[in-house]
């Protein structure tokens, strides 16, 4: 009997091909949108993760200021050269430690200028952050110690200040201090957080401290851990060392932060994950709207086919068989829409991830959930019209015009 009913439902759907298609469209769009958005979101998350892990999962970022947001961060006690030295010498597993100081400044070349971030650091920074010198050279040991007015720039800065020309060997003024450009970095493009990683000017640490900032403080220290060492252990060691050096009472909180990339990666992916859920939820609303569309059309169907229902009841159809017939029709509509929606969603998100250079990760879970939801919508929104059909009085239904 169920096959006969299914066959009847399919015949009915074919008979009203255009209407059936339009009814399914709501579910198709809903399911497609849920799958496309969630798949794109997952692609973004995994791209963020892979970008971060490309930076090396053995990178630690040591910065002054407690782990809270707000103005306190800016008044945090900076690190000193002695702190840096202690990290380098006393913590096992520290391969490189690159001190940095940062200042936003206007860089001027001829009649062009560009506001960018000036980083005073050492050559270790290049290695720790994965920069390579494309043209020219990096600083020498002597230049760093002496704080010579030299700089290495990123390609964005070069394009802004020397459009179409060679920056190498030219002079720029950083906060009225003339600096010779001795190197141009290879382009790294945008970070996954959308930052332009080529928009930077590197100067020797001493030069930035003395001539741009006017003290000997050190800001953030970038640390690479030996591949053989445990990053987490090294992190704890650095924390212990700095607490001791900064004389923090045992019950007081750290006034500095040591973050590893794992931590940043998980923060980033929880942010993109939240966004994905939000988009998925919005798309789910359209699935609901699609369900209401099915209910609407099924109600119209029942009214239109009142005489047919009366005939069926008269020739001996049981109420539950009529109910089943209309329910099956609604479910066939919604699941067919669901299947097409899954195909559209996967196709769309494949195209989308390719276009955005993100990995295409099929989430079998969301595909199943979206499809199951569409089938459920057929049951839920098909039930009311089906019950209406089954409860018709055959005498009145036969008389219906």
């Amino acid at each position: 009997m169920i096959w006969a009913i299914l066959a009847m439902a399919l015949r009915q759907i074919r008979r009203n091909a255009v209407r059936s298609f339009l009814t399914m469209l709501g579910i198709m769009i809903g399911v497609g949108a849920v799958i496309a958005l969630v798949t794109l979101g997952e692609g973004a998350t995994s791209k963020v993760k892979s970008d971060i892990s490309k930076l090396g999962d053995n990178l630690l970022i040591v910065s002054p200021g407690a782990d809270r947001r707000g103005p306190e961060v800016s008044v945090a006690t900076p690190f000193t050269a002695a702190d840096l030295e202690a990290i380098r010498e006393e913590v096992a597993g520290v391969r490189l430690a690159a001190p940095t100081v940062q200042k936003g400044a206007l860089v001027v070349a001829g009649n062009l200028n560009w506001r960018t971030s000036i980083t005073g650091t050492t050559n270790e920074y290049l290695e720790v952050r994965g920069y390579e010198v494309e043209r020219g050279r990096s600083f020498t040991e002597q230049e760093v110690t002496a704080g010579q007015p030299l700089c290495v720039i990123g390609t964005t800065v070069e394009k802004q200040l020397f459009p179409g020309g060679e920056a190498l060997g030219q002079y720029v003024r950083v906060d009225r201090i003339g600096c010779e450009i001795i190197g141009v970095l290879a382009s790294k493009g945008q970070s996954s957080m959308g930052q332009d990683q080529d928009d930077l000017v590197l100067v020797p640490l001493r030069m930035a401290q003395r001539r741009l900032i006017g003290n000997t403080d050190i800001g953030t220290i970038y640390v690479t851990v030996d591949a053989a060492e445990d990053t987490a252990q090294t992190k704890t060691d650095i924390e212990d060392l700095l607490r001791q050096r900064r004389r923090i009472q045992p019950d007081a909180e750290d006034d500095f932060r040591v973050r590893d990339l794992q931590e940043i990666a998980s923060a980033m992916s929880s942010a993109t994950g939240a966004l994905t859920s939000l988009l998925g939820a919005i798309a789910a609303v359209s699935l609901l709207v699609g369900g209401i569309g099915i209910m609407n059309i099924m109600l119209v169907n029942v009214t239109e086919r009142t005489r047919e229902i009366g005939t069926r009841l008269a020739i001996g159809a049981l109420a539950r068989e009529v109910l089943l017939q209309f329910l099956v029709e609604a479910i066939v509509l919604s699941t067919t829409g669901g299947v097409i929606g899954v195909a559209l969603g996967l196709g769309g998100s494949y195209a989308g991830t390719r276009a955005l250079g993100m990995p295409f990760v099929i989430q079998p879970g969301i595909v199943l959930v979206a499809f199951g939801f569409s089938a459920m919508i057929g049951v839920v929104f098909g039930y009311l019209p089906a019950r209406k059909a089954a409860n018709l009085n055959p005498i009145e239904a036969l008389r219906h015009e």
Binding site: M1, A4, M8, R11, R15, R307, E308, G310, T311, R312, L313, A314, I315, G316, A317, L318, A319, R320, E321, P394, I395, L398
Partner: protein
């Protein structure tokens, strides 16, 4: 079954609609026995109770009072599903408006009651074709109703009623939508089915010309039977037949 066994037995059947002052007796106490093999025409003006009695005989409705036995079974004690099963197995319906499924071929329409009886596909098709051949539409199996004339559509409907080999064929104004020539053809088909196959037929009509084809005529007025006999007795001489329907 012998021709003496009653198929339909109504005893003191009343049907009441409405409540209180608006109470309407559609049937005011009807006794009627129809035996197997009879061809009965139920006559009466609109509001006479003939449609209500038809609905009760067809197990689509139950009496408010009194008793209805269909082949000995008490219909008023049955649930809706039991009555549906009874219709499915024993009663064929022919309606004034044909009530074929639109955009569905003749053979599929005829198969419909067999689908509900869970007859296997091959057997279903064989019986549907046979029924359509019986009504003279063996060459119209795959036509949809809109491709058939009114007379042909009513033949499909009769074939549908026949396909399940019912004990009772109920026809509600079967010629109401047809011209007189088609009407006569349909009536001849019913007479033929009644005589050759012994199918019990109960037909509601308000046209004395159609009732004249039946072997027995029951005349309703104001919810009561006021005449029961061969058509000529009920209407008198054919010349005054129009008066009987008024």
């Amino acid at each position: 079954m012998t021709s003496e066994e009653p198929v339909i037995q109504l005893v003191g059947v009343k049907k009441v609609y409405g409540k209180g002052d608006a109470l309407v007796y559609a049937l005011a106490g009807v006794d009627l026995t129809i035996r197997a093999g009879e061809f009965v025409a139920i006559m009466g003006a609109s509001g006479s109770g003939k449609s209500t009695s038809m609905n009760i005989i067809g197990c689509l409705d139950v009496p408010s009072a009194g008793s209805y036995r269909f082949r000995g079974a008490k219909v008023e004690e049955m649930t809706a599903d039991e009555r549906a099963m009874l219709r499915r197995l024993h009663i064929g319906f022919v309606f004034q408006g044909f009530n074929l499924l639109p955009r569905t071929t003749a053979i599929e329409n005829v198969e419909l009651p067999l689908v509900y009886r869970r007859v296997p596909t091959a057997e279903r098709q064989r019986r549907a074709i046979e029924a359509l051949e019986t009504v003279g539409l063996g060459d119209r199996l795959h036509h949809v109703p809109s491709e058939l004339s009114g007379g042909q559509q009513q033949r499909v409907a009769i074939a549908r009623a026949l396909a399940s080999a019912p004990a009772l064929l109920l026809a509600d104004e079967p010629t109401g939508n047809l011209d007189s020539r088609r009407s006569a053809e349909i009536m001849q088909l019913l007479v033929q089915l009644n005589q050759e196959r012994g199918i019990t037929i109960v037909m509601v009509t308000h046209e004395p010309d159609m009732a004249a084809f039946a072997s027995r005529c029951v005349h309703f007025k104001d919810g009561l039977i006021i005449g029961d006999g061969v058509p000529a007795e009920v209407f008198g001489p054919p010349s005054s037949s129009a008066g009987g329907a008024a």
